[in-house]
Amino acid sequence: MSATGKLIKEFAGRPAYRPLKIIGASGQLGYGIPTPAFQRGLEQSPDLIGCDMGSIDIGPYYLGSGQMATARASTKRDLRKVILGARKLDIPLIIGSAGSAGAAPHLEQTIDIIREIAKEDKLSFRMAVIPGDVPKSIVERSILRQEIIGVDGMPDLSMEELANTTNLVGQMGLTDFQKAIELDIDILIAGRACDTAIFSALPVLLGFDIGLSIHMAKIIECASLCCTPGGRDSILATLDKEYFELESMAPQRKALPMSIAAHSLYEQNDPFLIIEPEGYVDLHEAKYEQISDRSSRISGAKWIESNKKTIKLEGSTKVGERAVLLCGAADPKFIANHEIILREVEKIVEELVCEDIPKDYQLFPRIYGINGVTDRPIQPSVPDEVFLMIECIAPTLERASEVVRTTKQYLLHYGYPNRLSTGGNIAFPFTPPEVSIGTAYKFSVYHIIDIHGDENLFEPSVIEL
């Protein structure tokens, strides 16, 4: 019998009859899982190991291109560590948002690595896979029925933008995970998913309170980030009927009420709400109590079920090819006049490169030291040095490269009024100072749809390895 099968059988007819121990092994699988804390976690006889592997926070490139954000070698090292740990104890391993963005190419690369590990380490197990991709036809129907809402003021989605979207995923939820868990499996790899589903789907299936399970999941999906001091080490959650307890598996990290509660603020716009496809968790009555010098007990989360299921969609589309010019400047006259200089140089370059074709590119100068990071300086002043990154997005890489190379030459020699230095206006740390980066993407879809009868949107399949 498989790892999930054993637990389901043990809890059959005895909902939540004993506490469940869950290891949050990593909030970003592929950036390294510290071994000592993970090992200490395994020594606690856990019932489940979970890892989150992706996020929308990394930007539109990875989703659009199908590339992983993490290096293949470190991803494989982390996957091997958690697979070996889970198989040794014969407990389920659940991983969500595979390959950074959770679309088909990401899932494929993740499964590919797992196949390699199984072969190299001579492991055999049953693995469920749930693709996170959403068919465009379903979203087309939502657009026609006007049952699609942009999240946080995201503009309305047009049919054209939908058609141009390279990868389109939906955040699956705990009920989608539960269908896979019931397939008698050892490992579950999900495409784009709510991070909470990774840790809450199994406990809820075994009879634990859904509000508590999701609240716990929301905290441990970032491993020991909720501790003082916060960090990447594995965390142990012990889930009971009325509460759950948290303890970091790294001795120097303390899971204290204040820092655990504060974790609800992190990357969230409302610390009292956890919104899920099937409803939401209300945390207004949540209680955080310290039970030892480095662990706490949490209770009070309330689950409010929604009368309809909604899915948050994410999609990326190509906007062009990107090349950048990297250079610096230390001449105070150049720095003080940089706005006029850049405007003039932009004009000269446009006249030259658009002599025989219409303007087909966008130029984004960022002047680090002045306004490279934020919209405007807090206290305007002339810094001693600035770094200039001038970005071009054009239809082809050749075109983007042509624009930044020409910009380099005219920026270098532009004769602005009162110039003292006639040798060159900018410094290159190396040549060539132009870098061709490749395809640039943007989020085209960040919307919520009702899913009606499409309960089978995220269908699991089983691979025997």
Binding site: I56, D57, I58, G59, P60, Y61, V151, D152, G153, M154, P257, M258, S259, A261, A262, S264, L265, Y266, E267, Q268, N269, D270, P271, F272, A286, Y288, V319, G320, Q362, F364, R366, N371, G372, V373, T374, D375, I378, I393, A440, Y441, K442, F443, Y446
Partner: protein, 101 residues
């Protein structure tokens, strides 16, 4: 006194690609209450610092962690052409010098 000399944590981050969220946390209730009751940090000052209309700013006081949170819409969706801070992790800096009476 400046906010940076009272707060324990001042940070910014995306809450999704369309929203920047600012968290200001304090080491004790006295500091938290002092800033909560001050006009130095308010929807109005956030609106001026970030050029965002006050009615688009959400303010939440979170006493359990002695924290104040502001969520504001991003002018540029994270990662769009022209964005300067994809994660939104460096938009907090202009809060440091806010004067708290």
């Amino acid at each position: 006194m400046k906010l940076m000399d009272i707060a324990k944590v001042i940070r910014s981050k995306n809450a999704g690609p369309r929203c920047t969220t600012l968290d200001i946390m304090f080491a004790n209730e006295a500091d938290f209450n002092r800033v909560c009751s001050s006009n130095g940090l308010s929807k109005k000052t956030i609106s001026e610092l970030y050029d965002i209309p006050e009615d688009q700013i959400k303010e939440i006081q979170y006493p359990i962690s002695m924290a104040i949170k502001y969520s504001l819409p991003r002018k540029v969706t994270a990662g769009d052409p022209g964005d300067k801070d994809v994660y939104g992790a460096q938009q907090h800096a202009r809060l440091f010098n806010l004067e708290i009476e």
